[in-house]
Subunit: 168 residues, 2 copies
């Protein structure tokens, strides 16, 4: 609430965000990667009424703050998944937490809502992660066959070989 | 980039974000709704190198600040699309700009990248909108048949009847 736009001086413009809730999970960081884990999102009491009607949707977007991520120090390329054997890629071509605005975005399946607690499958956010927004997902968010580069496809394939990655 | 976490006092926790670029379009607000418009995103010079490799992806997520949206005054339900003839719905069950953290999220088709200019189709952000993040989209962001409530489906159907809404 209050003034959100902190400053608008040409290049200097900052925005303030407040968490609306947080993630609860006892899964390890490694387990969370595989997008099969069931987590809870507890929304703060003051925002609880905003959840009304959410249970009509099977899938949601969760926006969250990558609060345990590394502090961004201006680096504009990263080794995907920290794999130093692979070429560096531009940060905006990755989902790395190394980014100017460390906002995480994940598509999850909504399993249930009880009051201000959402039970979801597929959230890769750590326990205690501050949640910024919840948005409903619909067919316009889906596109049948997105093209991805070869290096990305190979990374995913490898990850699937190691673990069964479920589609949420 | 300084301290991002402004305060962590239990319930009071704020985050600062900085725009990484902005949207350029001469389409009207009404036209932008239909997700067929071609827009440009100009990324600031200091972040330009982060765009490397992005052209390997056909689709992207654009996160942006809903800077022209109404200031949120604590309302937790809205009439979808401002249609006062329809029942109010919880804000998190809508994509309304009325939300505690007014971050917009849109799936777009990447038509081209030239240096730090992205040409995209389907972005519904207004001219001058501050862009917060760009993320690659892959098949894990897609889910074949998401369930949505009836009121949502009817709103979409109406909108499609009035205008041809293209799938990006």
């Amino acid at each position: 609430m209050g003034e959100r736009l902190v400053s608008t001086r040409s290049a200097v413009m900052q925005f303030k965000l407040m968490p609306i809730g947080h993630v609860v999970t006892d899964a390890s960081h490694e387990e969370l990667r595989h997008r099969t884990v069931v987590s809870k999102i507890i929304i703060d009491r003051k925002y609880a009424k905003g959840l009304r009607d959410l249970e009509g949707f099977s899938h949601l977007y969760v926006l969250f703050f990558l609060h345990e991520g590394p502090k961004w120090k201006g680096k504009l390329s990263v080794h995907p998944r920290g794999r130093i054997d692979l070429s560096e890629r531009g940060i905006f071509a990755t989902r790395s937490p190394h980014r100017p605005n460390p906002i995480g975005l994940t598509l999850v399946k909504l399993l249930s809502r009880r009051g201000r607690t959402l039970t979801v499958r597929g959230l890769d956010a750590y326990d205690g992660t501050p949640v910024l927004d919840i948005k409903p997902y619909d067919e316009e968010d889906s596109t049948p066959r997105p093209r991805v580069p070869r290096w990305w496809r190979e990374l995913k394939r490898e990850s699937k070989r190691k673990h069964r990655v479920a589609r949420v």
